[in-house]
């Protein structure tokens, strides 16, 4: 519980408000975490991974109306910006646009809060620039 509260507290407040309930669960046979209708379930193995908290929170923003177009992952503005880029963020982003939006949100948060932004850790940042700039 302490992990859950501490790490969720690190998610920016304007993102946190889109999450309804959170539950920490012991590890199942597989799976890390999921978002169901704005609620987040986190399994032990990732309860302490800030990127996972941000990723799952991103699903709530995507689906519950944080953006002008809901869900964002299906919106023209998202897909047209995706089409302008050469890359996805990482292997998990390639799953589909739902996961891509969530992973790009993590990148976007990094870009906002870390001095110098995403470019400080990724030389090829322009490969996904339109996507993380959209958020």
């Amino acid at each position: 519980m302490d992990n859950l509260i501490e790490f969720f507290g690190r998610v920016p407040v304007h993102m946190r408000q889109w999450v309804r309930h959170m539950i920490a669960l012991p590890d199942p046979k597989g799976g890390h975490a999921y978002n169901s209708n704005g609620n987040i379930a986190l399994f032990d193995r990732v309860n302490g991974e800030l990127t996972v908290f941000l990723h799952e929170t991103a699903h709530s923003l995507d689906g519950l109306g944080a953006y002008a177009d809901t869900p964002l992952h299906a919106a023209d503005v998202w897909n047209s910006n995706y089409n302008l880029d050469d890359n996805t963020a990482d292997s998990y982003s390639q799953t589909n646009q739902v996961e891509n939006v969530a992973q790009i949100t993590v990148v976007s948060v990094f870009n906002e809060v870390v001095p110098g932004g995403f470019a400080t850790v990724e030389l090829k940042h322009m490969g996904i620039f339109h996507q993380y700039a959209t958020l």
């Binding site: 690190r10 169901s36 800030l50 996805t88 390639q94």
Partner: protein
């Protein structure tokens, strides 16, 4: 006719959203972002109140989906210090399973 077209459009749209993306990834994972995020997203103090014996339906459902008994879930209302009073103050409901008890 119109209904069939609309249905087809919805199916196509759903399939498109579920489609695997073909653009090459920049990296294998986002692990390289962890340190920057941890160092620049500070933890926020919160006050927590444990509820006695009440669990939101969504939490009960998620517990059951993991094969667990909702009665074993400890539920809390968590209010972070940075929640603005001007917007409706929203406390986060958090629940945890004490795995020792399961």
């Amino acid at each position: 006719m119109l209904t069939t077209s609309l249905l087809a459009a919805v199916v196509v749209a759903s399939l498109a959203q579920a489609q695997r993306l073909t653009k090459p990834p920049l990296e294998n994972s986002l692990d390289y972002l962890k340190d920057g995020l941890l160092n620049n997203l500070p933890s926020v103090h919160s006050t927590n109140i444990q509820w006695g014996g009440w669990i939101p339906q969504d939490c009960a459902d998620m517990a059951k989906n993991s094969g667990l008994n909702p009665d074993d879930v400890l539920t809390y209302s968590v209010t972070y210090d940075d929640v603005s009073q001007k917007s409706s103050p929203k406390s986060t409901q958090a629940a945890g399973v004490d795995s020792d008890r399961c």
